[in-house]
Assembly symmetry: C2
Homo-oligomer: 307 residues x 2
């Protein structure tokens, strides 16, 4: 290990969390991107990819690069960063692949700068990276990637990130191998919602926060409902309704679309139930011949890990 | 005191709680209605008013009466209730006057029936009383009146009431002596809201629940925002914007319309601040010659009190 070098694991994340559209997210134990960063003596950013995803190497077009450029703009030091990225989180999967690059780069750079920025500031830098990926400065993946656990984005402008306590939870992720563009998933949303549905939604998000903080699994389960986003977006995901109902039959507390899809996440109270949920999903997709990846994991309480 | 007699204090309540429209409420230490109830040997309800509000005495037209009739429908015993009501909470003030009658009657009757019903069931009975007052079976006042403290109505059908922990809070209530009909206040609401505003609202209600449970006063304060209901309804309340901004200048965490108005509530972290807030409100209404009542009180953690 060189001096002035740091290695980090940047976790996948689930954004939206059913009734928490645009405001809730959580970090996963797996999968993670691996990143190695070195300080260099010129004010620039160099990106080296150690994977086959063919992501751009020009800093301003790269999520990690744009994050690091934002940091360089905010420091006077005549230094820069060289970063090697080994992506394990497939871009476009809906579990925060771009956010992992942005959050990992922000945390690694901050470590090399002797932690001069707060976590909230790192989220703001990483949001500049997210803008490269999706055109919008959203925090719902980068905040849990940096803070760990469940995070509430009460407000994006000004940014207000709140860590929410949670009980042990096991997560099943399935990623059907189809493409859903975030821009398409955003396009099909209705711009207006009925006051009645909105009230139901804010009852559920309030219930979810209370359920997580109380460690009340049944309340978490009852609160994982969404009549606003899911009915529209789920049509882009094969077998969504069946996957969801069979997961619940297998004992899942609930779940839904991860981010803007196509991945689906399910939460369970025990590892055994989560394994049953995974089996149910696997059987379903195998029976109709859809290719998929699946992960069996937990909530990552710490976010980006410095190795 | 006779045998088979019970006396209760039924508290005023604040519903809606800014960003918690239709789902959040809390109980107040003051004012309270006083109710005395006796078991009688025929299956009927007798109502005696000890105040000057001229409320109806026919059980099916009276809030407490309709609540008690709902209870009688659900028991086989050949008994009934006689109830004396001394209302201190002015009807139409927006601090749950009808809910106090309904909740007080439900809790008193349950005590005479040796507590055979759960609090949740009592809320359901009391909602039958609320229906007489407003035409709708809503729980946002009766739930906090019965459970005490802050309550979240995650769902009305099926009814799901969740008690939310909270730190010490001081409440300033001002009741300008004008009439706002609940039906009018409901009429002027828009049936559709923008997804953008709805997202902001569910961020704030999630923040409010987290703030209350963490005892984080600044988070509570930041979360007490409402762009959906307040801008429409506040036009029915004289000087609302000025009252609110001067209360905040005096140190209030925030506040808004109590129920559907016309009362306004403000929350403060200390009793001293709450008194300053009350003075600011008083000066304002006095300077423009609006008649008003005002209360300086706390959150009632227990709800209806059996004396």
């Amino acid at each position: 290990m060189f001096k002035n070098e740091v290695r980090v694991l940047a976790p996948a994340t689930v954004a939206n969390v059913v009734c928490g559209f645009d405001i809730m997210g959580f970090a996963l134990e797996e999968p993670n991107d691996l990143m190695t960063m070195r300080l260099i003596s010129e004010k620039s950013v160099k990106i080296i990819h150690q994977d086959d995803f063919n992501l751009p190497c020009e800093p301003e077009k790269n999520v990690a690069g744009a994050t690091l450029l934002a940091i360089l703009e905010n420091i006077d030091d005549k230094i820069g960063f060289e970063i090697e990225i080994t992506k394990k989180i497939k871009p476009g999967s809906g579990i925060g692949s771009s956010a992992a690059s942005a959050a990992g780069a922000a945390v690694a750079a901050n470590r090399l700068l002797n932690n001069r920025f707060s976590k909230l500031e790192l989220v703001e830098f990483a949001m500049c990276g997210e803008q490269v990926a999706s055109g919008a400065k959203h925090a719902d993946n980068v905040a849990p990637a940096i803070f760990g656990g469940f995070t509430l984005i009460r407000s994006s402008n000004p940014l207000d990130v709140i860590s929410i306590d949670f009980p042990p939870l096991f997560v099943t992720i399935v990623h059907p191998q189809i493409e859903v563009k975030t821009s398409d998933a955003r396009e099909i949303l209705k711009k207006q919602v009925s006051l009645k549905d909105a009230i139901e939604q804010w009852g559920n998000i309030a219930g979810l926060v209370a359920g997580l903080m109380k460690g009340d699994y049944q309340l978490i389960s009852r609160s994982l409902e969404d009549k606003i986003i899911e009915p529209t977006r789920s049509i882009l995901i094969p077998e969504f309704d069946r996957i969801k109902s069979e997961s619940k039959q297998a004992g899942a507390l609930g779940g839904g679309i991860s981010g803007s899809g196509p991945s689906i996440f399910m939460l369970s109270q025990t590892e055994e139930i989560a394994r049953n949920v995974q089996s149910a999903i696997r059987r379903n997709y195998q029976s109709i011949g859809i290719e998929f990846n699946t992960y069996q994991t937990k909530i990552n309480p710490n976010g980006v890990e410095i190795m």
